[in-house]
């Protein structure tokens, strides 16, 4: 029997249809239908100036909106062959890590909601709130910050702002260990999480899983390793696990939050003085750039004539992660409720996945299998 869930359903965050093939209560396999929130944002950006494009890039994704502006700006800085001042790089990393913390908290809270463990769900949101306050304190807005520009960041951070961010982060670090313990050692959550929705390392490579989902299955890869600021300035390590089940994915996020706190402390202690913005002349060119979003790798391909955006292609991590969820994780799951929890553990973001629908020659919808299908990049 095929059990459809969605596109509008209380278990799902956003409109997407899960088709579960079931035998009794047991889920045999699953299929995922995309295409309910297609917005054509790449097409909207074409022909606009890059000064306007950065505000549209921010609206690709709802939760991890920040990293899109950073990647957009860094793509154009790569075309110009320039780097922003060191203080601006530090401030960008600071906002990026704060954004990663809040995104991981909301991802885990959704997972606990899917497990029906509402206490931890509320606790996670309670922990997320001061981080959002820190973002608001620094940039002026909570989600769509308008904080990055090509050439640096909008405003300088003052000493008092950095100090209160340090205070918030220290409080968070002292507090959140006991909540992680509740999850780590609780018998109920552990029964619902361990050995559920397993994905092997081989499958993760085959399905091109990225971010915490790939790292929970043993792929030791983080795009921040290749980023010049993280490479040169900060002391941190890549978090990864071997199990590949729901427990590993959730714990991977918890450990990454700890690593982010470590980076933020280094930033506040060592931030250099200087400019936060430079004027950059953009020549005509074509290039790509990758960054680590909270959910994984986000890459931008941009062609510009120096003033206008001629072509832009955005690849967000969720498209691969939702895909591997349907293909490999939902093979042989004990109950339908576990299948929903597995889907939630992937931290799916349909909004940033569905910017584009790929069709075959006959005009039918086609499965996404690599960027070579995208017409503009041929």
């Amino acid at each position: 029997m095929i059990l459809p869930i969605g596109p509008i359903h209380p278990a799902l965050k956003e409109p997407v249809r899960l088709k579960l093939k079931t035998q009794g209560e047991r889920v045999i396999s699953a299929e995922i239908d995309y295409g309910y929130v297609h917005r054509g944002i790449e097409r909207v950006m074409q022909g606009k100036t890059w000064q306007k494009g950065i505000f549209l890039a921010e609206r690709v994704c709802g939760i991890c909106s920040y990293v899109h502006t950073q990647t957009f700006a860094e793509t154009f800085e790569k075309i110009a062959g320039e780097k922003v001042p060191l203080r601006a790089q530090y401030l960008r990393s600071l906002t990026n890590e704060l954004d990663r913390i809040q995104s991981h908290f909301i991802a885990n809270s959704t997972y606990f909601k899917a497990l029906e463990h509402e206490t931890l769900f509320m606790y996670m949101l309670h922990l997320r709130e001061p981080v959002m306050d820190a973002i608001e304190l620094l940039t002026g807005n909570r989600v769509n910050m308008g904080w990055n520009v090509v050439g640096g960041v909008r405003m300088d951070a003052e000493e008092k702002h950095l100090n209160s961010i340090y205070q918030i982060i220290t409080n968070l670090e002292n507090e959140y260990d006991k909540y992680v313990e509740m999850f780590d050692e609780g018998p109920l959550v552990s029964l619902r999480s361990r050995d559920v929705g397993k994905m092997s390392k081989k499958d993760a490579i085959k399905g091109r899983a990225v971010g915490p989902i790939g790292r929970a299955s043993g792929l030791k890869h983080d795009v921040r390793e290749d980023h010049h600021t993280y490479q040169d300035e900060f002391d941190w390590k890549v978090i990864w696990r071997k199990e590949g089940d729901n427990y590993a994915r959730t714990m991977n996020r918890f450990d990454e939050i700890r690593e982010s706190i470590k980076i933020i402390k280094q930033i506040v202690e060592n931030i250099p003085p200087g400019d936060v913005r430079t004027k950059i002349d953009i020549p005509a060119g074509y290039t790509d750039w990758r960054n680590e979003a909270p959910r994984g790798e986000v890459s931008y391909f941009v062609e510009t004539n120096g003033n206008l955006i001629k072509n832009i292609s955005i690849r967000t991590p969720s498209i691969m992660n939702i895909d591997v969820c349907g293909k490999y994780m939902l093979q042989d799951v004990a109950t339908v409720a576990d299948a929903v929890a597995t889907y939630a553990s992937v931290d799916p973001c349909v909004a940033c996945t569905e910017r584009v629908v790929i069709l075959n020659e006959k005009g039918e919808k086609k499965e996404f299998d690599g960027l070579h299908n995208v017409k503009y990049l041929k």
Binding site: K52, G140, N144, A284, G285
Partner: protein, 345 residues
């Protein structure tokens, strides 16, 4: 029924009526952080109605310029109005606003330094009076009132009001009458222009033997591939749009004048030496030779008109870029003899 009676009893109590009368919402406890970027604030008294904010806004219909009604005493004031449903609070309008003090402020954005308050366009639009046919289509298409106006039967663009929307360029029926001049990379543009002119001159110089024997009615045509020219232009400035634009402007407007010099016909009368305005033609007494310095020559045709023996030949060449793309484009060159009178005076 009993619950209804209970409700009536509750409402009839004096304490309920008292509490109902003084009921009030709790005071607002949410504090606005000091960096909070609210909707932009508009100060209409500073506005110069340049339209920079409307041109810069990434959200459709979020901001527009309106004008209050004109009265008998004075003209109405123009000022931006922000639609709170469309505004995404990015603060870009406040950033590009050129007025001091700012017409629009948005959070702390008005603290941004002066050099970033620029319009995101790098072209200046001017009207070539020589080519303009006064159809006034640009004047009708222009969205800014007063930016294009007519004075003494001439169409003029007011640069202080122009917002760089390209409407005049798109609506002009005459090629080249409205020019979008790139205001950035001026030095590089000069180098590209010199490069193209020199290359064209060299290519004509190589065909010298054919050109010298042209009769008055004959027209000599040949093509020049621009592939190598584009490569060299790109090494100066990697901006294809600007290179194509410069090439087109040069080939549309450039008329190259060529002077050929046939020494065999010369009778050493030295009439041309005195007439030459730039001193390019000199007489060498030792070798008894008339010399012409091509670098000093202005191509003014005075020598051609003066010489009674037809030593100097005067030709005019025209150019056409075809097709209008940088890849596999060619320039058609046409050379023909001049129709100027010979042997004046």
């Amino acid at each position: 029924m009993s619950s209804l009676i209970w409700y009536l009893y509750e409402f009839a109590r004096k304490s309920w009526a008292e509490s109902f009368a003084v009921a009030r919402t709790n005071p607002e406890i949410v504090e606005t952080p000091d960096r909070f970027r609210d909707f932009p604030e508009v100060f209409p008294e500073h506005c110069i109605s340049c339209g920079a904010c409307t041109a810069a806004c990434p959200a459709p219909n979020a901001i527009r310029l309106v004008r209050s009604e004109d009265t008998a005493e004075e003209e109405g004031k123009a000022y931006p109005v922000i639609n709170h449903r469309g505004c995404i609070r990015c603060g870009f309008c406040a950033e590009v606003c050129p007025t001091v003090p700012k017409t629009i402020t948005c959070g702390e954005n008005h603290l941004i330094r002066e050099e970033f308050t620029i319009l995101p366009t790098d072209r200046m639009f001017v009207i070539d009076d020589y080519l303009c046919i006064r159809c006034k289509k640009c004047l009708k298409a222009c969205p800014v009132p007063g930016a294009i106006y007519e004075e003494d039967n001439k169409i003029i663009i007011d640069q202080s009001l122009c917002i760089g929307c390209e409407e005049c360029l798109n609506n002009c029926p005459v090629k080249g009458a409205v020019k979008g001049i790139f205001i950035s990379h001026i030095q590089e543009q000069k180098e590209i222009i010199n490069l193209v002119v020199n290359t064209l001159e060299e290519s004509i110089e190589r065909k010298r033997d054919d050109i010298t024997h042209l009769s008055d009615e004959e027209v000599y045509k040949f093509d020049l591939s621009i592939t190598e020219l584009v490569e060299r232009a790109r090494s100066i400035l990697a901006n294809d749009e600007l290179i194509l634009d410069t090439f087109q402007k040069i080939t549309d407007r450039l008329k190259l004048r060529i002077v050929t010099w046939d020494e065999d016909k010369c009778k050493k009368c030295r009439l041309c030496v005195d007439e030459c305005p730039s001193g390019a033609i000199t007489y060498d007494e030792k070798e008894n030779v008339i010399k012409r310095d091509t670098k000093k020559c202005l191509r003014c045709s005075t020598c051609y008109q003066t010489c009674p023996f037809g030593v100097a030949g005067y030709f005019v060449s025209r150019f056409l870029l075809d097709p209008t793309s940088l890849e596999d484009g060619v320039i058609h060159i046409t050379v023909k003899a001049s129709q100027l009178p010979i042997g004046a005076d």
